[in-house]
């Protein structure tokens, strides 16, 4: 193993209301593949953003690069030779492979580009990677696996010292994954340090030299890959303080109100589940596992390919959200600012907007709008002077309450909550949980998508776990534990 390139000690990062990282130590050696493991929200992304210079750590921590203390900014990280390869491609389709590699860093002489030189160096690196990609090919003609290789080539051409890979294999086929892991190992052999983040534990065990485990922003363990087993790794990733859990009242489940069979479309396949009155059906899984896509499909926001949806025992074809709303469904979307709220309109207007469809008549008096707005402010405890306040001026928790008011006002029976407490502070979170519990008491049914593990565990009666657009497991009763959910969602447990 080579010498230490990067060393982080005592790194913390605080966002308003959240401590994303808490006194983390981390180091990377030349030629080492160091994997970071943790659940959604464990602090992995924050950590790599600090290494790439996108975030500045809180005062008190120290970053050393090749033994010297440094302050990392996106520019200085680049200068030092740290390159991040993100999940999404940063490829310019209409440019050739060579041009993509050298874009912004062209080799030129007196303002004239030296194309031959650039092409030669590209070819050299591609040969090293055993890749048959033609340097003159346009990037848009390459597969996504090949595009990833271009990004590696770029890092090699400029002789980077540290490469950060964030979920590099998302949406890759099996052979592409094999190929990519081989390339990663090859690059490491050249003495480059690699920070590798993946939800796929099998990949981690195939390539990692060392593994760092984060949970809730804290460093749980850092050990050589040979010193830990997969079950032990999972055990360390989960397991939180009891205070992170919410203790809600449970109700005896009633009749089935929604029944989905073999539902396919919008990137999800063969989905089967049902929901009863008085229960919360949780949907867990990693980010990108298709949970939100399923909910959008269910609500008529995307075309269905096949399958059936029965609402209150009757099969209906939900072509658009109007049909869904008329059948008493309500959809609290993941991104309230973009798909839930009208930020430039008042609380009152936001409250009545979905009700327009289900209430009778063609007119809606402004007085009535104001009265109903005020009524729901009172009911949900929204903190606002009056119903004429613009929603854009509310805090996250209060904005979420306005979204709830909008749907409560349609008298829905089946509520879909997608990430109900994302970006909401602790106090407002509890209030949202209480409101959800109140819905159950009123005999409504709830489907909840959540990436917040304590939330999904403590709120759900049953949990469906999704992976790659399919349901891969169901847990209920005593089986609702973090270990079970996590094992299904990372594919460790086979059904």
């Amino acid at each position: 193993m080579g010498q230490e390139i990067l060393k982080l000690s005592g790194i913390s990062k605080t966002f308003p209301g959240v401590k994303a990282l808490d006194g983390i130590d981390f180091s990377l050696n030349a030629g080492e593949i160091h994997c970071i493991c943790g659940e959604n929200g464990a602090g992995k992304s924050t950590l790599i953003k600090i290494v790439s210079g996108a975030y500045q750590p809180d005062a008190g921590g120290e970053v050393q690069f090749e033994g010297a203390p440094v302050t990392l900014t996106p520019l200085s990280a680049m200068d030092l030779g740290i390159q991040t390869i993100y999940q999404e491609h940063t490829i310019f389709g209409p440019l050739s492979v060579t041009e993509n590699i050298f874009v912004g860093m062209e080799i030129a002489d007196k303002g004239f580009m030296k194309f031959a030189e650039m092409k030669r160096r590209t070819q050299e690196v591609l040969d090293f990677l055993n890749s048959s990609i033609d340097p003159d090919e346009l990037a848009e003609n390459l597969s996504s696996g090949e595009q990833k290789i271009i990004e590696f080539a770029k890092a090699l051409v400029f002789e980077r010292k540290v490469i950060i890979l964030d979920e590099p294999t998302a949406s890759f086929s099996m052979t592409e994954i094999d190929n990519l892991l081989g390339i990663v190992k090859k690059i490491a052999e050249r003495g480059i340090g690699i920070i590798y983040i993946s939800h796929h534990l099998d990949e981690v065990f195939r390539i990692a030299d060392r593994i760092t485990i984060l949970r809730d922003g804290k460093l749980i363990n850092c050990c050589d890959a040979g010193d830990i087993t997969e079950p032990e790794l999972v055990r360390q990733m989960v397991g939180r303080d009891a205070s992170a859990f919410y203790n809600r009242e449970h109700f005896p489940p009633g009749e089935i109100v929604l029944e989905v069979e073999k539902l396919t479309g919008n990137g999800v396949y063969d989905i089967d589940f049902n929901v009863r009155r008085g229960e919360i059906l949780g949907f867990a899984g990693m980010v990108g596992s298709g949970r939100s896509e399923l909910m959008t499909l269910l609500f008529g926001g995307a075309p269905k390919i096949k399958g059936s949806v029965k609402v209150f025992g009757k099969e209906i074809d939900i072509k658009n959200p109007q049909t869904a709303i008329r059948h008493k469904m309500a959809y609290i979307t993941e991104d309230r600012q973009h798909t839930g709220l009208f930020l430039i309109h008042t609380i009152a207007r936001n409250t009545i907007i979905a009700n327009l469809l289900v209430s009778s008549g063609s007119f809606y008096a402004p007085k009535r709008e104001e009265r109903i707005g005020a009524e729901y402010i009172e009911k949900l405890g929204t903190k606002a002077e009056n119903a004429e306040v613009l929603v854009g001026n509310l805090s996250g928790g209060n904005q979420q309450k306005v979204v709830l008011a909008k749907w409560f006002n349609t008298e829905g029976e089946i509520f879909i909550f997608d990430e109900p407490t994302r970006g909401i502070d602790v106090g407002a979170k509890q209030e949202i949980y209480q409101l959800m519990t109140d819905l159950l008491r009123d005999n409504k049914a709830i489907i909840m998508v959540s990436s917040d593990m304590p939330e999904v565990i403590s709120m759900s009666d049953r949990i469906m776990v999704m992976k790659d657009g399919r349901i891969v497991g169901e847990v209920s009763g005593d089986g609702v534990t973090e270990e079970n959910v996590l094992e299904y969602s990372i594919g460790g447990k086979k059904i």
């Binding site: 658009n320 973009h338 430039i344 309109h345 007119f363 602790v426 106090g427």
Partner: protein
């Protein structure tokens, strides 16, 4: 009546919201300045014609046609679109109506009716493309504008057509022989009432109907509107159809005024129409604006030219001033909004800081 109560509530709300106050303020200040200058230096000793009843009514009749069009434009813009073609569509309607009445042998009602139907059909065509194929309305209506110009010229072989005063009933004054303080005859053409009537109807639609709320919602956040059960495509489509009818009505008012149809009738009219809507507080980004604001915006725009005529300022300077007033008014409104939202944001941050402090105290 509960209507009265609603209107009272409405007034309170409007005042609180304060969106139309900017335009009204600019309008009043402008009138006062012109009146003073006129009374002091242009025609000293005489009653300033700027604020004479005949002049004010005159301005109202001048802005009737662009004002009606501004109502349609407001509808489209609040829903998040724009229509650059209204000027040339006006020219088409005017030329087609005159030509079909005089040369194609249609009766006057049939000529006018078919003119309206054509305008609605053209706008519906553009609206269909915009709402279904999701292309920028700017581009589509720019294409429409060029097309309509061509169609208008084709219909008349690029010639002008006289109506032979057949539409005079729409412009002849409804009161005769009334003189005002400045001893000028007051002329009240009937189409003024058309303008006022359309304004009131539009106000009711935008403020009291579900349809109006859907338009605002689509303009403010299309995705959220869709998920809230609004048929976004049809709402957008409908705004263009309504606009087509309004443009046609406005064009016929213009035709009655000018009597002779020529291509220049509608030329650059879209500029004044969009300017009126924007002056009235309609945002290009959609979701914002109200009908009385647009009404005031149209009047303000008409007043600017009229006032400078009173001061005998030449046309070149009138353009410069008009442009500057539009830039100034819209910038001022933006600054006011910016300051307000900063103030509210600060209050919000303080509130949430307090909130989290309380929460953490509670946990401890």
């Amino acid at each position: 009546m509960s209507d009265t109560a609603e209107r009272l509530g409405q007034k309170k709300f409007q005042f609180h919201w304060n969106a139309n106050m900017n335009v009204l303020l600019i309008l009043v200040v402008y009138i006062i300045i012109i009146t003073i200058v006129q009374a002091v230096s242009i025609t000293p000793g005489k009653f300033p014609t700027m604020i004479s009843v005949s002049n004010l009514v005159n301005v109202l009749s001048q802005v009737s046609a662009p004002g009606i069009m501004a109502m349609g434009m407001a509808l489209i813009m609040i829903a998040g679109g724009i229509d650059l073609s209204v000027g040339m569509l006006t020219s088409f309607v005017v030329l087609y109506a005159a030509k079909s009445f005089r040369d194609f042998g249609l009766s006057l009602p049939m000529a006018l009716l078919t003119a309206v139907l054509f305008a609605v059909a053209f706008e519906a065509g553009m609206g269909f493309v915009i709402s279904r194929i999701n292309v920028e309305p700017f581009i589509i209506t720019l294409g429409g504008m060029i097309c309509f110009r061509g169609v208008a010229l084709l219909v008349t072989h690029s010639q002008e057509v006289s109506m032979n005063n057949a539409m005079d009933p729409l412009k002849n004054t409804v009161i005769v022989g009334v003189k005002d303080q400045a001893n000028l005859a007051v002329n009240v053409p009937p189409y003024i009432f058309l303008f006022l009537g359309i304004t009131v109807v539009m106000w009711i639609v935008m403020r009291f109907s579900k349809y109006g709320r859907r338009i605002y919602a689509v303009g403010a956040n299309r995705q959220a509107a869709y998920l809230a059960g609004i048929n976004v495509k049809n709402v957008i489509f409908s705004t263009y159809i309504i606009n087509g009818a309004l443009v046609a009505v406005a064009a016929l008012c213009l035709l009655s005024r000018v009597n002779t149809a020529i291509i220049t009738v509608g030329q650059n009219l879209e500029i004044d129409v969009i300017a009126s809507a924007v002056l009235g507080g309609v945002a290009l980004s959609g979701g914002k604006g109200n009908i009385w604001g647009v009404f005031l915006g149209a009047i303000l725009l008409g007043m600017i030219g009229n006032g400078m005529n009173m001061l005998r300022i030449n046309a070149e300077w009138q353009y410069v001033t008009k442009g500057l007033i539009i830039i100034g008014a819209v910038s001022a409104a933006a600054i006011v909004a910016e300051v307000q939202s900063k103030r509210q944001l600060k209050a919000k941050q303080e509130a949430s800081a307090l909130e989290s402090a309380l929460n953490s105290a509670g946990e401890a």
